[in-house]
Amino acid sequence: MIIDALAGVLVIPAAAAALLAALPGYRLSARLNVFAALLTFMTAVSLFFIEPRSGPYLLVDDLNKVFVVLTTFVAFTTSVFSASYIGHEIEIGRLTPTFVRFYHAMYQILMFAMNLALVANNIGLMWVAIELATLTTVLMVGIYRTHEALEAAWKYFILGSVGIALALFGTILVYMAARPVIGEGVDAMVWTVLMTRAAKFDPALLNVAFVFLLLGYGTKVGLAPLHAWLPDAHAEGPTPISAVLSGLLLNVALYALLRFKMLLALNPAAIAPGPLMVIMGLISCVFAALMLYRRRDIKRMFAYSSIEHMGIIVFAFGMGGPLANFAGLLHMTMHSLTKSAIFFAVGHIAQVKGTQKIADMGGLTVTHPVLGWGLVLGVVAIAGLPPLGIFMSEFLVVSSTFARAPWLATILALGILVALGALFLRLNTIAFGEPRGPAAPADASYVPMFAHLGLVLMAGIYMPPALVTGFQNVARLLG
């Protein structure tokens, strides 16, 4: 092939973005959006079969392959969902066609940015990509132009930019640390080079760098207490974007963190990044679990649950070790799939009920059985009940860490339990009981939602050995 798959995952979205920006008309652009996403996804999958060479700017290895494929897949399904969602938004006039055009272009740019962040072989490039992704999402969160949306976007924007600044400082520090060893120039920012020489870097500089990176990218991951932007951004933006935010952007930021963690892990003199991550993960998990109780807005509630799960994942990676890393990866994958599926459901629910207030929706399994039971299934999955995949990952996280750090694992387990309590408390009101709110039938596309849930279910019962070995390799890579 002329351009290899690696470039493909970047070029296709970029081109699509340009095209969509020019293209008027909702239907066509929506289809094109879906098509581009699908194409990107297939290119990403092809990464597994034809190994492209990693250059000074682009890199592909087992780690980011997993991320890229996951990202592109969820991006694809989300684009399918957003086709029907946005259609409804236009009907009720919440969005004008111009904004829709803008929206689709932005969507592809976001894909481009995230893919770039994932395949970037250069810490500077990665930083730029993540900043780009942030700015894009800021614009999309504010797309409804309601006061609340602007409010949320503004908050996201300010906190995000501070995070970006901190991350940049960290990046500079890493460069400073690398320069004496590697020498000036681009090489001192290239992952592949950094990894080989990391042992000789100045530990003190690396430490400071990691602190800044942890806070900078941690803001994007949504770790407490840096999470403030996340719930509102999820609640006020269009639901597809909430799905992308929860399902993908958090992962991308997490990916950056992981890379730097690996870098630090290679340097014996530097502080162990693990404990920091474990503590922040625990704080986020328990904090978010408690925050779930007072939520009245359905999307905001699930945003907090994202924070909780990010906490669990970061905790797992912080604990390290092949088992915990495997669990973390698995949990991240499962969470992306499940959470985006939930947001698909929530999006349609909010549309049919005409509100996001939990109090105003009820008895969903009676009025809209498919949506309702879909939501129930999703919540069951996200709460970590079998036979769905998250149970497996949580089982691995808790049981593998309990022998090593009983108290931490216990706290985590209690956090999970508290969160489960909150989720089902709300689920009772939403899905069961006397029906409330309009009962008009939903013109929804259930395929993406149930595709995700189906995958999660399958992973909970049977995982293809190829996938397992892949994950195990990555886990070993993460140390």
């Binding site: 500077g124 490039l125 730029v128 900043e131 700015l135 006061h147 609340e148 602007l150 409010e151 949320a152 503004w154 908050k155 924007f157 300010i158 930019s161 501070v162 970006i164 600044a165 940049l168 400082f169 500079i172 520090l173 460069y175 400073m176 640390a177 320069r179 004496p180 000036e184 120039g185 681009v186 001192a188 920012m189 100045d202 003190a204 500089l205 400071v208 509102d232 609640a235 006020e236 007072r294 939520r295 009245r296 807005d297 905001r300 996001q356 207030k357």
Partner: protein, 220 residues
Amino acid sequence: MNALQFDVAHLLAGLLVLLSFMQLYQDRLYALLNIFALHALVLAASVAWQAFVQDAPHLYLTALIALVFKAIVIPTALHRIIVRLGIHREIETVVGVGPAMLLGMGLVALSMVVMLRVTTEADPLAREDLAFALSVVLLGLLMMVTRRNAVSQVIGFMSLENGLVLAATGAKGMPLVVEISVAFSVLIAFIVIGIFLFRIRERFDTVDLQALDRFRGERR
């Protein structure tokens, strides 16, 4: 590099920290703006000096951006905003000046301690520069969280970012510096536009709690 170059660079960086302190001390908006312009000016100078020392011509571009955009355009823009919103007589610090200064001292000391643990084979200029840059960043952040007024918060953010640029230029041979400074200018432009758009007077977000509740779609 010889001692002179080192001293000059050192002097400029130190000057930046000093100016950050003065910003922290100032509570009149106009004065704040002027000091910030000065801040940007010094930054430009130090960047230029770095460009000369490292004979890296692209850094001149960065210096130019700093000079034109930060030292001239933004301050004037903010000036006009202040006039437009009629908030030029605001005295609005969260903690008093004294405590703020003390905090600033603490931060500078902290950054020194953290940075001076860096082993010495990283060249001294880099170390000193980084120490100063870190203090500038922290002071900028401190400014953001101790000021109520949007404009002064923007200024805080910008001085923070000056610290970043200082660090980036101090890092010898660091690629993408120009791009980064451009990107940041874009970011700041966004913020300023945002202030324009939302007519944000007091804080970044609205005053009264009911409004807050409405915004967050929550009822207490």
